[in-house]
């Protein structure tokens, strides 16, 4: 075990792997610095974004390391209780074995498993929403500030981490951390897989290294199949953002209407309903699509709805709603995508 875990984490430059990439040591310092006898650790195992499977992969393969990471974080903030929040699948599959691992390190008395409510949707993976769920309150995000690090679960300083983040903590502690991350790579209508590779690879490199670089014209959605950015073949030199997924679509063979409809329907059905821009905006975007199909993109209301989602949504999930739709239109969509004279030829 490392002597000073905080400085090790800082040196390793660990960032949160829930998607926001917030520096881990900053969160730890904030919780540590907040006065209070009772502090909590919350482990986020909701993994609700389509296209991302890496937390499940870690739960399947590295439970011992995960529990070690949980223990280190818990010891560091002197957590009173540890809440492990899992989606239904994870809860059924891994609760008992996680508990067994926890017992081995003397942690099981502190751990409380929380099941992600059925049909609670996408929002139930957002960290302040998880706090509300654990407290038995309404399923929806909280106003920030206060941040959970100061006033989190039951008003106490709370450290919330994604499963991959805590796994990385255990690697740092065991001096095994190699600046890698888990990539979920999906090929529409084909194979999918989780790969553990250096976190500074470009999208193209990940595709090549995993033997997933397509032989056909394609585009990708990066960082989640719901709100991830859509990029064309010439935009693959950046790193993989968010929670680390790459989904490959066939440029010639895809159906733009179906793709857009799926995104818009997902958000309409998953909005928690708390704020106007998201509850009403996602509903209206879908409505306009139903009425006009792809022609909706020429409707000035659509740009307003998207701008408004980004500018004034209550939580980050709402702000991210237009990402996929707008980046697809900007980077990929062309009415002539399926004809030979396309600029991507």
């Amino acid at each position: 075990m490392t002597r000073n875990i905080l400085s090790e984490i800082k040196k390793a430059a660990l960032v949160g792997r829930g998607g926001a990439c917030f520096p881990v040591h900053t969160k730890w310092e904030a919780v540590k610095a907040t006065k209070g006898k009772i502090k909590y650790l919350v482990v986020n195992g909701a993994e609700g974004e389509p296209g991302i499977y890496k937390d499940g992969y870690i739960l399947e393969n590295y439970r011992k390391d995960l529990i070690l990471g949980i223990k280190i974080a818990s010891d560091f903030i002197k957590a009173d209780k540890i809440y492990i929040y899992l989606n239904l699948n994870f809860f059924n599959k891994y609760k008992q074995s996680l508990n067994r691992e926890a017992k081995k390190v003397g942690l099981s008395d502190k751990i409380i498993f929380i099941l992600k409510p059925i049909n609670s949707g996408y929002i139930a993976g957002e960290e302040t929403t998880i706090l509300n769920i654990i407290e038995g309150k309404e399923i929806g995000p909280r106003i920030r500030p206060p941040f959970p690090t100061c006033e989190g679960l039951f008003g106490k300083p709370t450290l919330i981490h994604n499963i991959e983040t805590l796994y990385n903590v255990s690697l740092v502690a065991q001096e095994r951390y190699e600046n890698k991350r888990f990539y979920s790579v999906n090929v529409i209508n084909k194979n999918k897989g989780v790969y553990f590779l250096p976190s500074d690879l470009s999208i193209e490199e990940v595709l090549v290294k995993t033997n997933n670089y397509p032989s056909y014209d394609f585009f990708v959605q990066v960082g989640g199949d719901a709100d991830g950015q859509v990029l064309n073949m010439n935009q693959l030199d950046s790193c993989v953002s968010g929670a680390g997924s790459i989904t490959i679509h066939n440029l010639r063979n895809h159906n733009p209407e179906k793709l857009i409809k799926n995104w818009l329907k997902f958000f309409k059905d998953n909005s928690c309903g708390n704020c106007t821009p998201c509850r009403e905006g996602t509903y209206r975007l879908y409505e306009l699509f139903e009425e006009q199909g792809i022609d909706m993109i020429r409707d000035p209301r659509v740009q307003d709805l998207c701008d408004n989602l980004y500018l004034s949504s209550f939580c980050a999930l709402g702000s991210a709603v237009p990402n996929a739709f707008l980046s697809y239109l900007k980077n990929v969509y062309s009415p002539c995508n399926t004809c030979k004279s396309c600029k991507y030829d």
Binding site: S120, G121, E138, I139, I143, P145, K268, D269, N270, S271, C272, G273, N274, C275, T276, P277, R279, E280, G281, T282, Y283, R284, E287, R301, D304, L305, D307, N308, Y310, L311, S312, S313, F314, S319
Partner: protein, 587 residues
């Protein structure tokens, strides 16, 4: 923990550092911890807001009060964002315009316009914002046409076709009143506000949801169109209106008069203009109630077997609370009827007799600050020989609407007096409108009665009982009544009831008003209403009390005459008292 919190708050108040911010390129002073909206409002900078209410926790869900802060990409809601020294804020930048206008348009389309019959038509926040920013209210299709309207007794309704999902009603019901009857059901665009499925919870009809709804989706079940029909075709009947003590100090707000302004004369004049034949003041009924209640209090105190503490019952929401949640406390409720029921009964008997009319030939319309009074007026066991003492109840809002709708220039009316056969009551009646007022009125009378009956040489009967006044949730006092100690408690707001119910043995007399501040904060009051506004209405009532020559109910000679008449006619119990029974959900 509690102590730490108090110290924290005190320190914050003590240190209150001054800050300077810029709003739309102009400098303004504020204090650390204040929201952008606080500072803007104080300096008369308009920022629209819908879900924001000063008495509720900030939810920041309507997203209409967004502003741009220099250096930030996204916008911030001014209600929830604490201003920091040096912050540069823009309330009308291009980004703000897109966002604010889009959110407003989205909200307009979540609210089906039913303007013709809407009592908020003349004060509609949505229409005013649409005009202010020149927005098309039909940018999107109405999406809630098939939503249901949920009705609670004949008092309150939630019209799902008009709800903008701000959840102020839920917060008023849960956080202020602690009833937890209203719940959000479903999520996203499908969510709606409904009654809870929990069978152990029922609505008490207090109407605090209606008072906090920014768009009249939660509102009283209106009776004004029934009343209009009656006034258009009286069928040979006399149509009488009377108004509650608290109404006089609030209705002026709807017409630009100052808070707490006493509009008795203007209300009387406007009711006449609307076509009512005679106007009475519920103050008279309140003096009657005081007499009946003070008598019962003294009886109970003098009877060792009597049930104590005696608890007031003139608040129908509180009565509903007892009948549903605590039927074991029914014996504690005073059996005295409430002022509106007393007055209605007197008009249909005593006054009818004076004018050679039959009670059946009179229609009574009561103007109340309350939604639960509609439920009360419908109670079967209050009927007098099959007659309802009160036929229709209008909220203050409904009256203000009728006055505006009929183009009556309220402010500039010539003041008129109410019917002289039953006067406008004592000072003790006026204060019925404020939390603590019913108790103070009863104590003024009980104290005098006991003093005189004990044949003391000098009676230093107390007039003012300031310890039971004010906005606090629970006020306690230990008073001297005829040489004996009387422990009393006054509960202002049903959300504060728990502590008192847990310690009933401590008291002999308790007043409960379901709405914070009493009837001046009632669910049927003028909107906007807030604790600060209620305080000003309250001050207006106590000013009026002092203006009265007669400030004790038992010194109101006409009250004594009426009571004599009723006693002689052997109608006392029938007109003055009532009974209660355990109620089921929805009763």
């Amino acid at each position: 923990m509690y102590i730490a919190l108090v110290i924290h708050v005190n320190l914050a108040n003590m240190i209150k550092k001054e800050i300077t911010i810029k709003i739309d390129n102009k400098k303004y002073k504020g204090f650390e911890g204040e929201s952008i909206l606080d500072i803007a409002s104080r300096n008369n900078i308009f920022i629209p807001s819908l879900c924001h209410h000063p008495d509720l926790d900030i939810k920041a869900n309507c997203r209409v009060c967004v502003v741009e802060i220099k250096g930030l990409n996204k916008l911030c809601t001014s209600c929830s964002t604490v201003a920091c020294d040096g912050m540069e804020i823009y309330t009308n930048s291009p980004k703000v315009q897109v966002s604010r206008n889009t959110n407003l348009k989205l909200i307009f389309s979540a609210h089906i316009e039913k303007c013709i019959d809407c009592t908020s038509r003349f004060d509609c926040e949505l229409l005013s914002l649409a005009r202010r920013y020149s927005l098309n209210i039909a940018t999107f299709k109405d999406r809630k046409g098939k939503r249901k309207t949920y009705k609670f007794s004949n008092s309150v309704e939630i019209d799902g076709t008009q709800c903008i999902d701000c959840k102020n009603c839920v917060d008023a019901c849960s956080n202020i009143q602690k009833i937890n009857y209203l719940k959000k059901d479903g999520k996203g665009f499908k969510q709606e506000i409904k009654a809870t499925k929990d069978k152990n919870i029922d609505c008490i009809y207090c109407g605090q949801c209606t008072l906090h709804c920014p768009v009249a989706s939660a509102q009283e079940q209106c009776d004004f169109s029934e009343v209009e029909k009656i006034l258009e075709n009286r069928k040979g009947k006399k149509v009488i209106a009377f108004f509650a003590p608290s109404v006089r100090v609030s209705i002026g707000e709807a017409f630009g008069l100052p808070y707490g302004y006493n509009s008795s004369g203007l209300i009387t004049a406007s009711l006449k203009r609307l076509g009512f034949d005679e106007i009475f003041d519920v103050n008279f009924g309140a003096d009657i109630t005081t007499m009946v209640e003070a008598e019962e209090l003294l009886e109970r105190l003098g009877d060792k077997k009597a049930v104590l503490p005696m608890i007031t019952s003139c608040c129908p929401a509180w009565v509903k609370y007892v009948e549903f949640y605590r039927p074991d406390l029914i014996p504690n409720l005073t059996t005295s009827r409430s002022p509106q029921i007393h007055l209605g009964g007197i008009i249909k008997t005593y006054w009818a007799n004076k004018l050679n009319l039959k009670g059946e030939d009179i229609i009574t319309v009561s103007i109340m600050p309350c939604t639960a009074k509609k439920h009360e007026a419908n109670r079967d066991n209050l009927k007098i020989d099959k007659m309802k003492p009160v036929d229709h109840v209008l909220t203050v809002r409904e009256l203000a609407f009728l006055i505006k709708k009929n183009g009556i220039d309220f402010k500039n009316l010539k003041e008129e007096k109410t019917n002289s056969l039953a006067n406008d009551g004592s000072g003790a009646a006026v204060i019925y409108g404020a939390s603590g007022g019913v108790m103070e009125s009863a104590l003024r009378t009980a104290n005098s009665v006991i003093c005189f009956s004990s044949k003391a040489k000098i009676c230093h009967s107390r007039l003012e009982f300031k310890e039971v006044r004010g906005m606090e949730g629970v006020k306690e006092a230990s008073l001297n009544l005829g040489g004996k100690k009387l422990n009393v408690a006054v509960v202002s707001g049903i959300g504060n009831i728990a502590g008192v119910l847990d310690n009933l043995d401590k008291y002999q007399y308790i007043e409960v008003m379901a709405c914070p501040g009493g009837c001046i904060g009632g669910g049927g009051q003028i909107i906007p209403s807030s604790r600060e506004i209620v305080k000003k209405r309250m001050a207006g009532l106590y000013v009026d009390d002092k203006r009265h020559k007669i400030r004790k109910a038992h010194e109101n000679e006409e009250v004594l005459n009426v009571l004599d008449y009723i006693k002689n006619k052997k109608m006392y119990t029938k007109l003055m008292h009532t009974s209660y029974k355990k109620s089921n959900r929805g009763d």
